[in-house]
Symmetry: C2
């Protein structure tokens, strides 16, 4: 089947109006995505997206258009029978790679396309992506991964070996997954811009619904950080887990000092303490915080498998937070799972964003069934936002993600959402802009 | 003065037709740039660009447009009196940073704008950029740099100290620079796509014009690499310097093996042996090649100061190849120079591309006059391409860059070039496309 058509849309939600998703670095996000639809001649479709936070989505949309010629006209059988080679044709296009390579806008755009291809493949097979992966023989699964630049840490043969060793018990783990789901933690209680009363009521709500792990934002003033940590710790008690997230706001030494001051609240991890590119900086922070029992978590802005490789080699991340869009889609995320397996670092996916919960649940469930074989010390982030816009949103019951049952990657947006939230001309945006309730800082600028 | 207007154009040169600039990863570059013009109310202008290689330029152009609202309407006095803060307003815009941060398309676009601002500042002062920098008091110079994420290696106070220590002898060094120029090496002899006869005749030409350092591309088959290295070494003799450049084509262990096989030709450095993001990989290669007398050079795709910091901290680069566009313009490149100074690593700028020679000469000359105080072991890359399109191109005489004398950053393109080379509607492109001599792989694709 030939891919005959690609469309890409700039879909945004005005979350900045209520400070949903706000943190120390991103004070006013409008949760958004570049949404890709692929169509084959005879009607099969694939839906994929990359998460963004408002301005900048238009650049990713342009990048998807610039990559489109590499996808349109291609045969799906050829793509899926040697997916690693196709993936490299996207990430190593001889001219386009200059404006990456394999990072930033171009890699976000690659992810949207690659995610749509996986959605299409799973639909063709009539399975959710986690099950498509779980049912693949090891050779096929490994054939989707481009091992370029990581062979010093994991080779194709080693990856095959990992999968083969875990064939035993797959059926039992799959049954357990379907009956019990996968543990989640919530980030919904502690966005920076939420007033204290809101944080309090949300903590109470999520405790009541069964959560035992809670993440809040830090990186404001030290007093403010202490005040929030103290309140949340008091609310959730000492048996539940508290994680904190600085969203890259500190320098290396500052991160160490600030976390020493928050150690009394016993956070499990500090997430993104400094620049996401700073492997050696995270290593210094990890070493300094280890005696305090605080781990370092990062990954949502880790730009490709080569960065993940170094974080894992160096021992600079104790929790590996893969993201389904930041790097080049499922194929590259799988490479990261293999490296995490090798270094015995638990993967706890990032999912605070449009469609991220929907996607990462598949990856983490594959990991449980086929690769790590355990949920021990692992949790998937959960955020209750924009899920009403998906045809088959992630389902979290009593703090556990339920295994998806519908074919695909769970990224099919409702048609009404696509129409109403397209920026800037969908109904929702038109009304907000006309009423003056929402203003773009780019207004009145002509280039 | 207020910046009232910003324009950005997609300017391309059809260099792929003759394999100029071709290497192991970029087989068919069309040397290009995103060209930014800033205008103030009363007519002062600033010209800046970021180098690209064809497809993808349109994405950078979109990113410049997305950043424009942060520049238009701003007062130049306010920008230049606290340039570090303004720079951070570009690189940390609360929504846009998500699609970076500080890397790839967004950072290339930032560089084009920031370069235009430096050009404007230098024009306002009536000086070339190198002289503007050399005449600045240390406090003003250091006030242009955002030290976020690098304070664990160099602080503002330390940078000030470096400059103050070198105040002595500045006048003598400036006089020497003006009389003798700055040493260059040539890359023009050995692009991958050039046939052997062309490589031979170019070697002879550049030897005759006084060059003593020659760089060629490797990373094709081992036989081909050996054949080229042997021929060029025979042509230039053993007293001249040979450098080789793999443009990221190898994995870590492969790079070590391949360079062992080329060691007999005594290359001074291997440039970009593997992924530009792989600090630990370059460290392993550095250690393996040190006994063979081969250094590791990288930097043209090093995505920001945080990566440079780690390469320098780890001892993973023996030659630091800053680029004037890959990271966020002059301000961030200065930060890298301070870190290189701290770790005593020589800076040898990357300049194979449109406008790169024009810009990096200013930075390297500032370094000589004010910071390192030496040209020892340092060379600026030189490539004779597209220089006829600049009003005031870099001038290399007897293998030495002559200090620019015209106000600005040497990035003002001739008006005719801008008109004729705008892609795809300038005369040059219209004719090439209509005649069928040049075809875009993106033709016939509608998104």
């Amino acid at each position: 089947m030939k891919i005959s058509n690609l469309t890409v849309k700039d879909i945004r939600f005005p979350t900045s109006l209520e400070a949903h998703g706000s943190d120390a670095m991103h004070s006013d996000p409008d949760y958004s995505c570049a949404y890709v639809v692929l169509r084959c001649d005879e009607g099969t479709q694939g839906y994929g997206l990359t998460f963004t936070i408002g301005r900048g989505t238009e650049i990713v949309v342009q990048a998807v258009k610039s990559l489109a010629h590499l996808v349109i006209g291609k045969d799906t059988t050829e793509i899926f029978s040697n997916f690693a080679a196709f993936w490299r044709s996207l990430t190593s296009e001889s001219q386009l790679r200059w404006v990456g390579p394999e990072k930033g806008v171009l890699h976000l755009a690659t992810a949207a396309i690659v995610n749509a291809l996986w959605d299409m493949w799973a639909r063709m097979e009539g399975k959710p992506v986690w099950k498509l992966l779980a049912d693949m023989d090891p050779e096929t699964l490994v054939s989707t991964i481009d091992f370029r630049y990581i062979t010093d840490v994991v080779t194709k043969e080693e990856a095959l070996q990992f999968l083969r060793e875990m064939q035993d018990g797959k059926a039992e783990r799959e049954a357990k997954l379907i009956s019990d789901g996968y543990p989640a933690y919530t980030t919904q209680v502690g966005w920076s811009g939420y007033p204290m009363e809101k944080v309090k009521s949300l903590c109470e709500k999520y405790i009541a619904s069964g959560f035992d792990s809670f993440k809040i934002k830090v990186g404001q003033t030290l007093d403010e950080d202490i005040r929030r940590c103290r309140m949340v710790r008091n609310l959730i008690g000492w048996d539940n887990k508290l994680m904190v997230d600085a969203n890259q706001v500190w320098d290396v030494e500052e991160a160490i000092e600030r976390m020493k001051a928050l150690a009394e609240f016993k956070p499990l991890w500090i997430e993104e303490p400094t620049s996401p590119d700073d492997v050696l900086g995270h290593l210094a922070i990890s070493k300094a915080l280890k005696p305090l029992g605080i781990g370092v978590a990062t990954g949502e802005m880790c730009c490709n498998r080569v960065l993940f490789k170094q974080f894992l080699q160096a021992g600079a991340m104790q929790y590996c937070q893969i993201d389904s869009c930041r790097i080049g889609g499922v194929n590259e995320v799988l490479a990261v799972y293999f490296m995490a397996k090798k270094f015995r670092v638990p993967v706890c996916p990032h999912a605070g964003g449009v469609g991220l919960s929907e996607m990462v649940q598949h990856l983490q469930m594959f990991d449980y069934v086929c690769l790590s074989g355990t949920m021990e010390g692992r949790v998937i982030e959960s955020v209750d936002q924009q899920q009403e816009h998906f045809e088959h949103p992630a389902i979290v019951k009593k703090s556990r993600y339920m295994a998806p049952i519908n074919p695909g990657y769970s990224t099919y947006l409702k048609q009404k959402t696509v129409e109403e939230h397209e920026y800037p001309c969908g109904r929702v945006w038109k009304e907000l802009i006309q009423s003056g309730r929402w203003k773009s800082p780019a207004d009145n600028v002509r280039v």
